[in-house]
Structures are given as C-alpha cells and as structure tokens.
Amino acid sequence: MSNAEKLPPITANELLARFITEKKWVRADHTVRQDAFIPPRDLNLSVTRHLKLSEEKLWNLGQKVVVAIAEKRSAALCGRADLTVREVSLRNLKTEPAALPKNPNHAHITGWPLDKAAQKNIAQQLAAAAKFMPKPGAQEMPSP
C-alpha cells in the first residue's frame, strides 16, 4: 500500500510490525523483551501495518526508521516483532492509523495507562505474544 487514502480499516486479524532497532530488545533465544514495547512519553507506540506489503517492502520501511539514528551513532535494523491487532485489543489498547509521508502503513498503539508499572506489565504481555523475525542478513543476536 502506498496511498494512505486507500488503506482499509484496521481489523483484529491483521499483523503489526514493531521494528527492532536495538539488539538489546531481543534475547539470545529470539524472544522479545518488554523494552521493545514500552511506549514513549506521548504514549503513542509506533508500529507498521503489514497489510499486503511484500517482505521486501516491509523491510524497506523498517530501514527508514533507523536512518534517523544512523546520523547520530551506528545503528542497524535487527528485525521486527510481529503481533496481531487482536493481541493489542486484548490489553484494552487501541491500534489507530497514523500515516507518515514515508510510511503510509504507520499506526500507533494508544490507550496506555499512565502508571509506568502498568505500562511495563502490558509491554511484557505484548512482548510475550510477539514473534521475532530477524532481518535477513542482520548480525546474530548477542548472548545473554
């Protein structure tokens, strides 16, 4: 999908990708740490809707995420954590479209509690439900 106006409504079964820009967010056994799902201060957690994007186009979008970091320090896209919209809804969170000029599939996970410990608890549940997909050709994850 390349035009935000054509994007279909978000459905429970569709997949979301949280791009992994930190090796530390993934354990050596390729499970995802809660750190990857802790929301930022504005409580809008960035994800990308898979929709009908090919794997190649999905990785290209992820690569754009790391460009901003790469200007300040070495950074690489390690992979992505995939989970369904249903897993988000089960934690009383919402998935809302938030198209960006370079990523029309961009969305936010919203509705986070203000309490930091409660955020961590939800982030742990999302991380446990997510499936890590390493970026082809990315460096191996570090040992714990």
């Binding site: 820009t21 930190e22 530390k24 809660q34 750190d35 970091i69 300040k72 320090r73 608890n121």
Partner: protein
Amino acid sequence: MILEMAASTLISIGAISTRGSSETARFVAEQAHEGRRLLQASYSLGLDGKGVFDELCEVAEERRAPNWDGYGAEPVSEEAYRLAYRFLEALPLGTPAPTVGAEPDGHLTLEWYRSPRRTLSVSVSPEGELHYAALLPGPSKAYGTEPFVGDVPVRILELIRDVTAA
C-alpha cells in the same frame, strides 16, 4: 565463628549501611563494605564477577544521546545510571545476574528471565523510583512502584526468587 557469621550476613542481606557515628561504627561499616566489595568481584557470588556492572556502563554510555532508538527516546541520565549501579550493589550476594537494558523514557532496566511468560523487569528512574512488573504463572498482580532509598524492596527480592527459582 565471627568470620563465618560476617560472611553469612554479607550474603543474605544487601549493602550494609550504618547509622552509628562513632569511630568503631565507621570502622565496622568500612570493613563490611570492603568485604562485600571483594565478594561482589567473585564469579560465584557477585554481580561484578558476572560482568553486570560493565554491561550497565555500556548500556548507559550508548544511550546518552536523545532518540537512541529512532522513535524519539529520552537519553539515559547520569542519575539513572548512578541509581541503577547502587541498586545492583544493594542486591544480596548470590542473586542471579540480570540483563541490562533501557527504555524510551531514559530509565535503565534490569531483567531476570526464565521464559517469555516467567520474567521480571525492574526500571530504575532518575527520580529514584523502581517500577517493576513480572509475568508469572497464576493470576496474582505482579507490578508496582517502590521508592529506592538504598535497600532493595522485599517485594522485588521475592519476585526475583519466584522468577529464577528452578
């Protein structure tokens, strides 16, 4: 006998502080601190020997700039690093080593992990708060916030035990 008791005390409780102001009290506290420092350096008992303090330093150093995650993360502050260091020092000797990470709000995290659904994460904030959350079998609530004033809260020690117990 006295040495055995001292070692036992050093292992079973966290960092030793003193409220005494006499020369003797200070001497005892200094000796206890030195003994504990040496035990921390051992591989079997101490987190230092397992490289956790080095990992903490590395994680904090690499995340001192804003937007270190590409999503607009806050930098890890010197205060967050200092408090996380003190928290690790205060853990009882023999505590399994956590892995160190960072969160978008600049908190440092310490994780004890057995499986994705049996894990504990403790965030150390620059304001001296410990935000913890655990996934464990059973329905009990396992998250909350405790102040860090030098001693590791009992609830967090219990959760470390529950997560890491065989």
